[in-house]
């Protein structure tokens, strides 16, 4: 069972020197144009960015602050985007520490966190209270993928239930590329949100269930189209739960290889289509996957890739992660709207992304500010372009 070393955690938290660089550093040389999306999109008290969050965490852990839901609000008003970690000059990882603090303090009531976890544990998804619907998209494919194969498409809850077009596009893309793949009959949720919000032990139990399902499918390679699933399966399961996973590959990585090796060829998307790419935190800052999605976009004839003011390691977050979309949907959407504005400034017609969870939130953000920009998964963009 995952044990958190409290002494170690306290030592890490003590490394925060309250310098405050994680608030809104604008540093052209490193590409930062602001740091904390929560600070920027709220009233901006100290509790909104990492320095204050860690002060609260320490006070709660030391018993100087009463352990109430109200007093933990700041700990959850955070998308765990990791931009603060990227700029922090101290000898620890603030975002990772906050994630662990949430786990240590998981006995403090938090309805949102617990509802999400209960749903995942009982219905294999964080969205609804029954199991229906997650696999409905398969029926619309026009072919039935098997449940066992060397390659598994682990589609994830958001694509399956919220953006089925992306799930379908991913499956069609695989078929068009001639790849035999399986889709699980009853795919468990990867449990990312449980890890992020502090239900670590439940997340570990869930992770074992996920691994078992993958093993039953016989897959040697697991393809994911969600950045959250990618980070969770590829990094968290081995590192946090000591699980030995098969190869976990994101669609973008997979298809870039196919394009590069000439196995698939892409038709033009149009003429001079300006696209900007939003780096999902789980793919970029967490796994360092910055160039692959860009290379894949650039490989589409007729695409002009333009960068937002903040990109790659300094990219502002879409606001969905860390449980924030459930914990404070309004704030989460405001953050997304801010990112959409940044995309609009590039003059792009499309914000491409590689994560249904980001896509969903960016769409909400675009709606909030009546933006006409199109938010599209790379998978959706290339599905009809295979020659």
């Amino acid at each position: 069972m995952t044990e958190i070393d409290l002494d170690d955690l306290m030592e890490n938290l003590a490394q925060c020197r309250r310098c405050g660089i994680c608030r809104d550093a604008v540093y052209e040389d490193m590409g930062f144009d602001g740091i904390c999306p929560v600070w920027k999109n709220t009233a901006g008290f100290e509790t909104s960015f990492m320095r204050g969050k860690l002060m609260i965490a320490i006070a709660l852990l030391e018993g100087r602050l009463e352990k109430t839901s109200d007093n933990t609000e700041a700990l959850y008003a955070c998308s765990l985007c990791g931009n603060c970690t990227e700029i922090c000059a101290a000898e620890f990882d603030p975002k990772e520490s906050l994630e662990l603090v949430r786990a240590v303090l998981s006995d403090i009531p938090n309805e949102v966190r617990d509802t999400l976890a209960e749903r995942i544990l009982t219905t294999n998804n964080p969205y609804v209270t029954d199991k229906k619907g997650k696999r409905d998209w398969v029926a619309e494919l026009g072919f039935e993928p098997p449940t066992k194969a060397d390659t598994l498409y682990y589609f994830g809850c958001t694509a399956g239930m919220k953006l089925p077009e992306t799930a379908k596009a991913a499956a069609r893309l695989l078929k068009a590329a001639g790849i035999e793949f399986a889709v699980l009959e009853d795919e468990p949720c990867c449990g990312s949100v449980m890890i992020r919000t502090g239900r670590l032990q439940d997340a570990e139990e869930n992770a074992k269930k996920v691994l078992e399902s993958i093993q039953e499918s016989g897959a040697k390679t697991v393809l994911v189209s969600c950045a959250g699933c990618l980070k969770t399966l590829r990094k968290d399961y081995p590192e946090k739960f000591n699980l030995s996973m098969p190869k976990i590959v994101h669609f973008v990585e997979y298809f870039l290889e196919l394009v590069k090796s000439g196995k698939i060829k892409l038709k033009p998307l149009g003429k001079n289509v300006k696209i900007t790419y939003h780096d999902p935190c789980h793919m970029g800052r967490e796994l360092g996957i910055y160039e692959e999605p860009r290379d894949l976009l650039k490989a589409i004839p007729g695409v002009e890739l333009v960068e937002m003011e903040t990109n790659r390691r300094a990219a502002m977050c879409c606001g969905a992660g860390g449980g924030l979309r459930s914990y404070d949907p309004e704030l989460s959407k405001k953050i997304a709207a801010d990112r959409v504005r940044e995309a609009e400034e590039t003059g792009a017609e499309i914000i491409a992304n590689a994560c249904p969870f980001c896509e969903q939130n960016l769409e909400s953000g675009a709606k909030l500010i009546d933006s006409s920009i199109r938010v599209a998964d790379i998978v959706d963009l290339i599905v009809d372009l295979i020659e």
Binding site: D29, F45, T47, L65
Partner: protein, 468 residues
């Protein structure tokens, strides 16, 4: 805090920008400073304009509420620690940058950081050449309130030298503009010493105790692109000190010149050498790490040649490791913050200014205190003006070890007296200098009189500016 006062605050800045939540107050009870224990305020307000600040101060005056102005909260010597049940006025919401291109100046709101300003000016190939090492965190106004220094100061002095005027809200709520902009018909900031005595200077370094700065006007310069990076080695402290004086005397323009003791530099390099890509070297007794900057290449080259000559005439040698000054200069907005924290130790600082020729005295006294009390630490300094060195000793301690914590505080306070006796002056007249500056009673009396005149109820950051 009295609920009536809180509701008045709400009327002034809006509900969203006032908080009395216990978690919020906790986060305003401390800053980056390790010099003072936390103090919980009674409320925090985040005004969005000078007018709102003015109304807040009028309200606080009426109700005798103690006010702590706060910007980045990055000060290290307890300057922005609030008073029990007092009000923290967080000034970061007041934004705005106005460039006065023809006047060679720029005006910023109190919420603008050096990082933001630098990015803005870079678009025009301009800059304000002086910035503290906390440039990404602190506001320009916050730095003016402490008269900060940093990279760029070796050539241009402390931030005060860049300031042309301020908009300041006095404790009674009056909004005053200083400098040429005091004339409502003036085209903007172009002269600081415009109307009699230097009222701008009164607020620079006043640690938020005489007024709240809501705007700062600063000089801008064409951005330099010609730099020469070099390290100079010396066998004695005196040689290195003389070198710095001669560099200034000969009009060589050192944008940033640091002096390191051999063991201190070896210690730094053990920590950061690899990360910063600095070649291994057995550093001499004293090393000067210097970035020369000029607008024109010929002048930069001529300065570099002259600096080499001066070094060799004094018996020193050019070390030839340019990565150290280059890393210091190019990474000046972030690298120093990293260097402060990379080792993981907690530290207190006793910032002060010395003359270059006296800087070895700081090193001697600090080393003696470390030996006597048995704690670890170091000191180094950089040229911070006409003939000033900014010394920034760090004293390491374990915050969980109460005895050590106590000992460091005592050693720190003792050293303030000792350093003052060597001729040093405070870099930021923080509270701990109170009673430790013998022979300055009359000066402090005058400062107190000014404070009493401007702030008869003593509401604005009392006790912080040298105890006043």
């Amino acid at each position: 805090m009295n609920t009536k006062v809180v509701s008045e605050l709400v009327k002034i800045v809006g509900e969203e920008y006032v908080s009395t939540r216990v978690d919020v107050l906790l986060t305003y009870s401390e800053t980056a400073s390790m010099a003072k224990d936390p103090v919980t305020p009674g409320a925090v307000a985040r005004p969005g304009s000078a007018e709102e600040v003015s109304q807040i101060l009028q309200l606080c005056n009426k109700n005798k509420i103690l006010v702590t102005p706060r910007s980045g909260g990055s000060s290290l010597q307890g300057e922005a620690i609030p008073k029990p049940d007092g009000l923290v006025v967080d000034l970061l919401r007041i934004k705005g940058i106005t460039l006065h291109k023809e006047l060679r100046s720029v005006t910023v709101g109190s919420g603008i950081t050096f990082g933001e300003l630098d990015k803005f000016l870079n678009q025009h190939d301009l800059w304000v050449p002086v910035a503290p090492e906390s440039a990404l965190i602190c506001s320009v106004a916050g730095n003016v309130a402490v008269n900060g220094a940093g990279p760029g100061s070796s050539a241009y002095g402390c931030i005060a030298e860049m300031v042309l005027g301020v908009e300041v809200v006095l404790p009674n709520g009056e909004i005053i503009q200083t400098g040429s902009e005091a004339n409502p018909n003036a085209p903007g900031p172009f002269l600081r010493y415009a109307f009699g005595p230097d009222l701008t200077g009164l607020f620079i370094g006043s640690l938020g105790s005489l007024g709240i700065i809501t705007k700062v006007s600063l000089k801008t310069y064409k951005r330099m692109h010609q730099f020469h990076y070099e390290t100079y080695g010396f066998d004695t402290a005196e040689q290195s000190e003389k070198f710095l004086i001669e560099v200034k005397n000969n009009d060589v323009l050192p944008m940033f010149a640091s002096v390191y003791e051999g063991p201190v530099l070896n210690f730094f390099m053990d920590m950061v050498g690899e990360e910063y890509g600095i070649p291994e070297h057995e550093w001499p007794h004293r090393t000067v790490s210097m970035t020369i900057g000029r607008l024109r290449e010929d002048r930069m080259k001529s300065d570099a040649k002259k600096a080499k000559e001066i070094c060799e005439q004094l018996g020193g040698h050019v070390i030839g490791i340019s990565e150290l000054p280059q890393g210091e200069w190019e990474g000046r907005f972030w690298t120093f913050v990293r260097t402060c924290y990379i080792h993981g130790w907690h530290w207190r600082t006793l910032y002060h200014h010395q003359t270059p020729t006296n800087s070895h005295r700081s090193v001697e006294e600090i080393t003696a205190a470390m030996d006597e009390h048995g704690f670890l630490g170091h000191t180094a300094g950089f040229l911070s003006g006409h003939s000033t060195m900014n010394m920034y000793p760090h004293f390491y301690f374990d915050p969980l070890d109460k005895e050590e914590d106590h000992m460091i505080r005592a050693a720190h306070d003792e050293l303030a007296i000792t350093l003052y006796k060597t001729g040093a002056v405070p870099f930021k007249l923080a509270e701990y200098w109170k009673g430790r500056m013998e022979g300055m009673e009359d000066y402090m009396k005058l400062l107190s009189a000014i404070k009493e005149t401007l702030d008869p109820n003593g509401i604005l950051n009392p006790g912080v500016l040298g105890g006043i």
